[in-house]
């Protein structure tokens, strides 16, 4: 774990369970087979740059950084 790690959470009301997050960071995200939503494993900490990448790739906007600003500006590409 490094100082630049951040914790993430998944808004289960928004998640569409497509599994992009699980594909990019399988240690942190898992599709819960019973609830059919993404869930965060352990303390959900991962390097900030990986977190931003996953947030960017999550189609539904369900993932956010804990304690971060709720609004992640659309980064274009």
């Amino acid at each position: 774990m490094s100082a630049d790690d951040v914790a993430v959470r998944v808004d289960t009301e928004v998640c569409i369970a497509g599994g992009q997050c699980e594909l990019l960071a399988p240690d942190i995200f898992e599709i819960d087979d019973d609830e059919v939503v993404a869930v965060v494993r352990g303390d959900g900490r991962l390097p900030r740059n990986v977190a931003l990448e996953v947030i960017d790739r999550c189609p539904s906007g369900a993932i956010s950084i804990v304690g971060g600003s709720d609004h992640i500006p659309a980064s274009g590409p």
Binding site: E13, V14, I16, A17, G18, L23, P59, G61, G76, P77
Partner: protein, 418 residues
């Protein structure tokens, strides 16, 4: 309202005339739209729509479903009468919370983890079709590989018995006909009694597909198996099951949605690899991964050219005011050539390492359910071609589908050289 704004601003160049697409996507017109400040208004039939051409705004619209609704109106350019809209309503034209509920019920079958378990099935089907194409030498790639592979794969995933596959392939082909107004079926074909305008694609084949889906569901309730229809009949989320109509529409959507799209990607991909042999060489040499090449094929092909949303409230996009209830159309065909995102966008370059294309939509809740399945199919085709050291050679020109909605190809003669 747009009315006062259109006086100050020129209309968008026409991109809805189907005939334009006989020669391919009119990229010059989309480039013009991307270069214009704000949004352009595109006249269409009795009204029109706001044309969203830039990558950034396609993304913004796709990811703001509370403003840009899929349930108000329709997700195609034209409007449907209210009863037809209700009768046909499925996953694509719902908003949260209904959409989230249905989507989750079906999503469990389509996660990357689950899709991977189908790898062997996809590979066996691919190998069989490829070996046949090699034996024949020159053939219509659409007939020999691009069309049969996706339909066989989705039928296997759904749990349709092999003996019924031909019947369903025939039904699916009739649906494709329905999109191009070349209906060959009588309105009462397959015992249909429903008014055609209430059926998806106005096709009696939809009625037959509904009936088949219901019979299959009944069978899977009695004899559960490891397939998606079993998952759907057993699935329960938030204590709710799919209603009968929801199941029917979903079964229909699953049979159809992955077919023409994946076929189109496989066909444009093959055409691009034949036209740019040096790009295929990079894959053969292992310089570029099959995964990377697949993303470029998807960007290049853009099988679905656009989707429509309707504004739920007054809003503003790219500095343009949009009133509630107006149509907004996101053009993936244009976003995938946005020069501010893709370097040299008109170049087919299998080695692009940052390739945020919108072939599967711009993100948001409606992001393509079958994205991983489609990727798997394209990747396996490339892998099996690479394993056999195959090359593709153009024999003739493609016959394109004249459509502003799908980037379809009816036939493409190719020689498969081993």
């Amino acid at each position: 309202m747009h009315a006062d704004q259109t006086t100050a601003r020129p209309d968008a160049p026409n991109v809805t005339d189907d005939a334009l697409y006989l020669d391919g996507i009119p990229h010059d017109r989309f480039a013009e739209m991307r270069a214009a400040p704000g949004l352009l208004w595109h006249p269409y039939r009795d009204g029109g729509f706001w044309a969203v051409a830039r990558h950034a705004e396609v993304r913004q619209v796709s990811r703001s479903p509370e403003v840009f609704s899929s349930a108000i109106g329709h997700t195609n350019l034209w409007d449907l009468e209210a009863d037809a809209l209700e009768a046909r309503r499925g996953l694509i034209d719902t908003d949260a919370p209904d959409h989230t509920r249905i989507r989750r019920l079906v999503a469990s079958g389509f996660t990357p983890k689950n899709i991977k378990t189908w790898g062997t099935t996809v590979r066996e089907l691919t190998a069989e079709l490829l070996d046949e194409a090699v034996a024949v030498g020159t053939s219509d790639w659409v007939d020999s590989l691009a069309a049969p592979l996706p339909i066989r794969v989705i039928l296997a995933l759904l749990g349709v018995p092999v003996d019924d596959a031909d019947h369903l392939v025939a039904l699916s082909n009739h649906l494709v006909e329905g999109t191009s107004e070349q209906q060959t079926l009588a309105p009462d074909a397959f015992g249909n009694t429903t008014e055609l305008r209430l059926l998806p694609f106005n096709s009696p084949a939809s009625h037959a597909l509904f009936e088949y889906g219901e019979a299959l569901a009944a069978r899977k309730r009695l004899e559960p198996a490891d397939d998606i229809v079993t998952t759907l009949v057993q699935a329960e989320a938030d204590g709710e099951r799919l209603s009968g109509a929801e199941f029917r529409n979903l079964f229909h959507l699953l049979v159809f949605a992955g077919n023409e799209t994946t076929r189109t990607a496989l066909t444009h991909g093959a055409m691009a690899l034949a036209d740019h042999p040096e790009q295929w060489q990079r894959v053969l040499d292992g310089e570029v991964s099959v995964e990377q090449a697949t993303e470029e094929i998807l960007r290049w092909a853009t099988p679905v050219l656009h989707m429509r949303r309707t504004t739920a409230v007054d809003t503003e996009l790219a500095g343009t005011r949009i009133g509630a209830g107006e149509k907004v159309v996101v053009w993936y065909a244009s976003a995938n050539r946005d020069e501010t995102v893709f370097e040299d966008p008109y170049r087919f370059d299998v080695g692009r390492d940052d390739n945020p294309h919108f072939a599967f939509g711009g993100g948001g809740p409606h992001f393509c359910l079958g994205a991983f399945l489609a990727r798997l199919e394209i990747q396996v085709v490339l892998e099996e071609m690479r394993a056999r050291g195959l090359r593709l050679r153009r024999v003739g020109d493609p016959v394109r589908v004249p459509s502003n909605f799908v980037h379809g190809v009816l036939s493409l003669d190719l020689e498969v050289v081993s």
